[in-house]
Amino acid sequence: MNVMEEKAVRVRSKKKSKSAEIWKRIKRNVGAMIGLVIIIVFALSAIFANQIRPEELVTKQDVTVRLQGPSAAHLFGTDAYGRDLLTRVLYGSRISLTIGIFTAGFSLMFGGLLGAAAAYYGGQADNIIMRIMDMFTAIPGTLLALAIVAALGANMTNLLIAITISSIPGFVRLIRSTVLTVVESDYVEAARACGTRDGRIILKHILPNAIGPIIVQTTESISGMILQASGLSYIGMGVQPPRPEWGAMISESREFMRQYPYLMIFPGACIILAALSFNLVGDGLRDALDPRLRD
């Protein structure tokens, strides 16, 4: 292949792939790369947790080694029941990542449907959907989630449902406003004039053009959801002990905090790192997708 051909190929592939262009910009963003690495580490430890440490260690109690500080045998030390803290923190990443990603996904799905419908149909539909969202917004999110968990029973699935419901209004609002700007554009008008079906217009014309801010918001919301889930578990309205949820672990460490602060430091550091990583990636995505910063 001569130089000219090679150049032509390169130019074509550049034009073809928008995502490659975005990826190139993210790669230059140090913060986003750090965030991505942290997410990958957490994801790997969540997936391979049982290869790293056997699952029975999560709840295995051993009074002979209770409340031991970090050592070679127990890198993060042991808790009041003599359980290995590293193992528990490791398995905790499964819970927090699952909650964060699934709640964000479900909120996006339901919020997206409602928000897009409100923006696209306008008029009465818009009015009804948004007034209902106003009612949910008037209740502080944490309290709404808490009440729902109390009604359904405190466990991981219900926590997931509760956080999803309490974050849907935010998603509806965002997606509605993003879609509104697209709906009023000429190409949607043109598609409508051609008699394209509603579903097809929404999927093929509106979504691809509105997706940027939505992806950013969803990524950043994952960190908020991880924080909220740990907060609710902390006050006993979420994942229940002995499951190794980070917030619940911090709650258990409360009575030992004076002598054994490491019990709350390790799970706390994990929550911070996990929340931080999604914020960093979201921020990097925003910079990469922002047309004003292009070139």
């Binding site: 309290l143 902390y234 905090m257 709350m264 929550i271 911070i272 914020n279």
Partner: protein
């Protein structure tokens, strides 16, 4: 203007009705009954049934809901707490002060720290100050408040013994909660201020002012900040409204009797009237705060004021 205020207050009514319906439904789904919660595990089934009849919780959902609304709307009677047998608003008003202080302090600290740093960060974009503020803001947003609260208790209450770790006895008790809430919210204030300031700084009128040779201080505060204020005011006010009841986890860390704790206790003990009263109060306050925000807009932005007078 007055007509606008009245219209907005009237629009609050359907929102409050909706909130009531949502909370009423959630509380009705909750397993367990108040009679059993009040009398305890050892009480006889008969006594529990009798108490439940007295409280009226055995009636069908629709009957209960309609009679609650009827009493609330026409007699302004929101019922008595199942737990204390006192009119529910006694508790709500007694705790509103504490919640108000906690939320105000937190937002005050967030504003004092976040907005100046945000302005500085935007004006000196890509400088060391900017990088430092952005990294700090990112980190602040990722710290769970309950963990931050516990670390502060560990350092300042248990180790140094400078400040109390719980209660509301003196002004000192409010310092740690203020920092606990102030730091994460300062992070979001900073980011919001920075991004809106960056947007206004790129506007033509700012460039014109610069070209005219207007001193930088005046450009920043009069030309840029005034136009960047609207979103900043919005986020400050919504955070404050949200914190009034949403600081429940922080209240629990520092054992402070605020509205959030009242609602959590109410939910745990199936005390539906208390939960409803506190939530309706919070939703009402939230609506009023949002109205005040819109009125402040009119003072900040003459374009919006012109719309009202039309």
């Amino acid at each position: 203007m007055l007509r606008y205020v009245i219209k907005r207050l009237l629009l609050l009514i359907p929102v409050l009705l909706g909130v009531t319906l949502i909370i009423f439904t959630i509380m009705a789904i909750q397993p367990g009954d108040p009679g059993r919660m009040i009398l305890g595990e050892n009480a006889s089934q008969e006594a529990v049934e009798k108490l439940n009849d007295q409280l009226g919780v055995n009636r069908p959902f629709v009957v209960r809901f309609v009679s609650y609304l009827y009493n609330a709307v026409f007699k302004l009677d929101f019922g008595k707490s199942y737990r204390t047998s006192q009119p529910v608003f006694n508790d709500v008003f007694a705790r509103a002060g504490t919640s108000f202080k906690i939320a105000f302090n937190g937002i005050f600290m967030a504003t004092v720290v976040g907005i100046p740093l945000g302005i500085l960060s935007a004006v000196k974009q890509y400088s060391a100050v900017d990088t430092f503020s952005r990294v700090t803001a990112m980190l602040a947003a990722a710290i769970p408040p309950f963990w931050l609260g516990m670390m502060l208790i560990f350092v300042f209450a248990l180790k140094m013994q400078w400040l109390p770790s719980n209660g509301i006895e003196s002004w000192k008790s409010f310092i740690l909660p203020m920092v606990t809430l102030g730091i994460p919210y300062a992070g979001s204030q900073l980011r919001m201020t920075r991004s809106t300031m960056l947007e206004t700084i790129r506007q033509d009128y700012v460039r014109t002012a610069k070209a005219k040779g207007v001193p930088q201080g005046i450009i920043i505060f009069r030309h840029a900040l005034r136009n960047a204020l609207l979103p900043i005011i919005t986020i400050t006010a919504t955070s404050f409204g949200g914190l009034l009841g949403g600081a429940v986890i922080t209240e629990s860390v520092f054992s402070m009797p605020g509205l959030g704790t009242l609602i959590v206790t109410g939910i745990r003990q199936r005390d539906t009237p208390s939960v409803l009263a506190a939530t309706i109060f919070l939703a009402f306050m939230f609506g009023v705060i949002m109205l005040v925000v819109d009125l402040i807009y009119a003072f900040v932005d003459p374009r919006i004021k012109a719309k009202y007078s039309r």
